[in-house]
């Protein structure tokens, strides 16, 4: 088990280097020049030269990458000390990227984690009930829902919801984010926070709910046909015990791992939902940064997203090994 952990962490480091390296390379392949962006519409060659020296884009790519990794390490070499990882400064407004990420991450986290709860609340009952009554009316309706949920684009869903529930019926705010703790505007506090997130949560959740309904349905149906379920019934167990202790316990094991991975992935930024609802999260940030050719911010968000994904995957693997005795004891 310990060996497994060490091996996974080493892989995580390799992965991290690979992902950030590739991001750097891609950034410097695209033809847009950040120095030119900084100089604005009428960029003179002298301005561009000064800007690129200031930003450091006149140095070779590997040198910039080396600087970047050096800043990122929590340990400094010269002199030997502990330091906080520094993600650099934005090319466009010289803001500390640490700060940018720290501002945007809680917004994305609110959206993703809340959305995860919503999608599980939808997917679990529908998935399980559909599996218990295949081909019934409920099952067919559920499958239609799955089809729509997977096919319809979140942006479209978001706009439709915002239009009907926000604009026409005036039930929910159309856009905007309310801070949970420190309101940056005059709208704030937990209730406002939730109120502003209800439509985004539902929009974000629909795609995942659809995918999970399908998966849960398949897993439960498969578990119901397992021999050990038959054994449980042969022992005289009532149906609710069979479901709880035997069917669901086994059917939902893989769901746990999928959940962890999907949350990790979504933490990188639920771009579509955030854009439609004007939520200042990581997705919106990265979207804007690409537009502005702002490498440090892009790189910073990539780093954060990678760390999230790797961490969540690791947690999920360990969790799975813990709850499935077949893996734990091998």
């Amino acid at each position: 088990m310990f060996q497994y952990l060490i091996r996974r962490l080493l892989w995580a480091v390799v992965l991290f280097i690979a992902v950030t390296g590739v991001t750097y390379v891609i950034f410097f392949i695209i033809p847009a020049d950040p120095a030119r962006q900084v100089c604005g519409q009428r960029a003179t060659p002298e301005c561009i030269e000064r800007a690129s020296h200031f930003l450091g884009t006149d140095r070779p790519v590997w040198y910039q990458y080396k600087l970047f990794m050096g800043r990122l390490m929590p340990v400094g070499i010269d002199p030997l000390r502990f330091k906080t990882p520094d993600l650099g400064r934005s090319f466009t407004n010289r803001q500390s990227v640490n700060h940018v990420v720290a501002q945007a991450a809680p917004v994305t986290a609110s959206l993703v984690l809340g959305g995860a709860i919503v999608w599980m609340m939808i997917a679990l009952p529908i998935g399980i009930l559909s599996a218990l009554r295949p081909r019934s009316l409920l099952d067919r309706i559920a499958m239609v829902f799955v089809l729509i949920g997977i096919s319809a684009h979140p942006v479209w869903i978001g706009l439709i919801f915002a239009y009907f529930f926000g604009f026409k019926l005036d039930l929910f705010p159309i856009t905007g984010y309310a801070d949970f703790f420190n309101p940056s505007t005059d709208v704030g506090g937990p209730i406002q926070w939730a109120y502003h997130l209800i439509l985004p949560w539902i929009t974000f959740a629909i795609l995942f709910a659809a995918l999970y309904v399908r998966m849960i349905r398949a897993n439960v149906m498969e578990a119901m046909n397992e021999d050990y379920v038959r054994t449980a019934r042969a022992k005289g167990a009532p149906e609710h015990l069979v479901m709880r202790s035997h069917v669901l316990r086994n059917a939902l094991l893989p769901v746990v791992t999928m959940l962890g991975m999907d949350i990790g992935l979504a933490m990188g930024g639920a771009i579509f939902t955030e854009t439609v609802y004007g939520l200042p999260g990581l997705g919106k940030q990265v979207f804007e940064s690409i537009d502005r050719v702002d490498l440090p911010v892009i790189q910073g968000i990539v780093v954060f997203a990678t760390v999230c994904i790797i961490t969540f995957n690791l947690i999920v693997d360990l969790l799975y090994a813990w709850i499935d005795p077949r893996i734990r004891l091998s």
Binding site: Q3, I6, R7, L10
Partner: protein
């Protein structure tokens, strides 16, 4: 020309009595590795641990043993579907133990295999005609028309309707699928057919059909078989020589009737006594073995069977016994320090 004759006409029948397959000290160990970055071998599963036997032309060697004894692994090693870890395999006098895939190619015409699971061993997306013809096409043994005719002949030989050339495997029953497997093996006129549990997945009444087919083909075509099975009664039907395996080694071998009538190794005796006899009221002298089969990762020292043997003594834990003739009979050998006396 009958169907059978057509198949035979493909190649000359060989002279009997030659050694077709010689296996000498065959070993197959699967490594168990540990390590964070660099995997180091810490132990190995000794699936096959020094097996030697000979199969002559026209002979059928039955290899019996229970699950985990290594008989299937050995069968795959002989066919070079797995690479042996040690030992030699000589086919028609040529050493095929370590040759490359390209060098092995021509030998694949001469040794074919029939597998256990008739449902898994046929590609469900290919038509039966293609499945049987594939080996012929790979070795370029005829034009398309000739191959097709040959396949139809083969289907008839194994008792299937040649018109079903274009059907898919799922349209056939288990027994019929196994016949397709036999036809496939026969297509290139091999000298040796290795059968890995050919009837254990079939119903009893269908088993009889396939066993009779195998016996008929052997008689008509002069085939040699290595028949791997766990069912002793099944092996008795087709085999004229028998080898009993336990934990990767052969513990007894000899002419089938002799081994069945007078088993020398305690394991063989226990195995035979465990088979239920379809005669009510016959109280069998049953030897019930205690415990489970030990793990092949660390087999017991000395004789691998000693942990469950009803007559184990101290000497059995020292060195592993080798196959010795039983009561002076060099044909019937057992690897035991205290073999059972022959029942006359």
């Amino acid at each position: 020309m009958t169907a059978q004759e057509a198949v035979v006409a493909g190649e000359q029948m060989a002279v009997r009595g030659d050694e077709l397959l010689v296996v000498d000290g065959l070993k197959k160990h699967f490594p168990v590795t540990r390590g964070i970055i660099f995997q180091k071998e810490v132990a190995s599963v000794k699936a096959v641990d020094g097996v030697s036997f000979t199969v002559e032309e026209g002979e059928t060697l039955g290899v019996v043993g229970e699950s985990g004894c290594g008989k299937s692994t050995m069968a795959r090693c002989i066919m070079r579907l797995l690479d042996p870890t040690g030992g030699k395999i000589l086919f028609r006098g040529r050493d095929i133990s370590n040759i490359s895939r390209a060098e092995m190619r021509p030998f694949r015409r001469e040794m074919m295999m029939i597998f256990q699971d008739p449902y898994a061993s046929l590609n469900p997306r290919k038509r039966v005609g293609f499945i049987v013809a594939e080996a012929l096409q790979v070795h370029k043994l005829g034009t398309d028309a000739e191959i097709k005719r040959r396949v139809q002949e083969l289907l008839e030989v194994v008792g299937l309707n040649p018109e079903h050339y274009n059907r898919f495997p799922h349209e056939f029953s288990g027994g019929q699928r196994q016949r397709i497997g036999v036809a496939r093996a026969l297509a290139v006129n091999p000298k040796l057919i290795v059968c890995d549990e050919p009837v254990s997945a079939l119903d009893v009444s269908v088993q009889a059909q396939v066993l009779n087919l195998l016996a008929d083909l052997r008689d008509e075509l002069g085939l040699s078989y290595v028949l791997v099975a766990h069912d002793l009664a099944v092996v008795r039907q087709v085999a004229n020589r028998l080898a009993v395996m336990y934990l990767g080694t052969i513990v007894e071998e000899g002419p089938a009737d002799q081994v069945y009538a007078s088993p020398a190794h305690p394991y063989t005796k226990a195995l035979l006594s465990a088979v239920p006899v379809p005669e009510p009221g016959v109280t069998r002298e049953r030897i019930v073995l205690s415990g489970d089969v030990p793990t092949p990762i660390s087999p017991p020292s000395g004789c691998p069977f000693r942990t469950r043997c009803y007559k184990a003594e101290d000497v059995c834990a020292t060195t592993r016994p080798v196959l010795e003739p039983v009561a002076g009979n060099t044909e019937h050998r057992a690897a035991c320090y205290f073999p059972e006396p022959p029942t006359s």
